[in-house]
Symmetry: C2
Subunit: 162 residues, 2 copies
DNA sequence: AGTTTGTGCTTGCAGTATGCAAGCGGTCGC
DNA sequence: GCGACCGCTTGCATACTGCAAGCACAAACT
């Protein structure tokens, strides 16, 4: 959706940038699923995103500074997508969205596990996760703790318990 | 947008319900602007929402349990819209959205004031605000503190300083 | 070197959503 | 009774979504 600047309210301006069905889903998959190529994002999409929508969103998110794309040294066609500081700072928003969704929609148990941990962990956990994302995506220093691994382990444990 | 249940992820399910350009704007206006009728929402919309979109969203949000509508005793045509517990619990999400928007978009100063206060106040302030919204919309007991009034006063002060 | 498979999109088309502005039927105020 | 108000609804053009086939290029295989 084009950014029309219909008002200067920060909520409105955020929605003009991210208030569509798919942008936050793409960011979620890069962030939590560590899917960094077009092919990964398309093939592993839980929601079955269409190829034209994915291509369009990657282009838009890159143009608006929420993703960056660099060439994959091992394959001339592939791009590796990375989060930026701006998209990393969406962690608290996504955490709250997951928390609300756990309570007010009918999520699956396995896919809710990350949301539950993020809600329980609160801002300290979000900050630790953001530090780790800065390492993974922006070449910052590696933190000692891997929130990413904790979230993934909890997800796999929930899968195994099924 | 129809709720298609493309995956059981709580983020996805939330976006299926609220991931459009306008639903959260309508909820924001009911919540922060205390606009409770169709005419108020339409006439006072900062973003200039179209009448058919407003009518559609009010109908949908009512159908999905995020708003309720009751007849206005003083006017047979008017409906009074109220938040539900589910929409009141969107306060943390909207607060995080406002916080992100303050940092990463170009908001106006005046319209950012509420977002700034909510970010500073954190969860204690959000909880106080939610209690007050329960009073205003759900007939719960009136809290001693009016976050609503504090937010409004700060907004008017910023307007006057302009 | 030629062929096959993989890659990242692009395209065609139908259905749905948005946005502008006029219009409609009912209610209220004078 | 008339005019203004009210809450939508409608007509129409444009934009978005979704499905599935297709395209140009790169890599792997023979």
């Amino acid at each position: 959706m084009p950014q029309t600047g219909r008002s200067g309210c920060p909520i409105n301006l955020t929605l003009e940038q991210l208030g569509d069905r798919w942008s936050l889903i793409v960011i979620r998959d890069v962030m939590f699923g560590n899917r960094r190529t077009y092919g990964d994002l398309l093939a592993q999409s839980e929601e079955g995103i269409a190829s034209n929508i994915l291509a369009d969103r990657l282009k838009r998110l890159t143009a608006s500074g929420l993703l960056t794309r660099r060439a994959d040294p091992s394959h001339r066609q592939k791009g590796i997508y990375s989060l930026t500081e701006a998209s990393i700072q969406l962690v608290p928003l996504l955490a709250q969205m997951g928390a609300w969704g756990r309570r007010h929609t009918r999520p699956s148990k396995e896919l809710s596990v990350r949301a539950e941990l993020l809600e329980k962990g609160g801002a300290p956990l979000w900050n630790a996760f953001m530090d780790e994302l800065r390492h993974l995506h922006l070449n910052a220093r590696q933190p000692t703790r891997s929130v990413f691994r904790e979230l993934q382990a909890a997800y796999e444990k929930a899968l195994a318990r099924r």
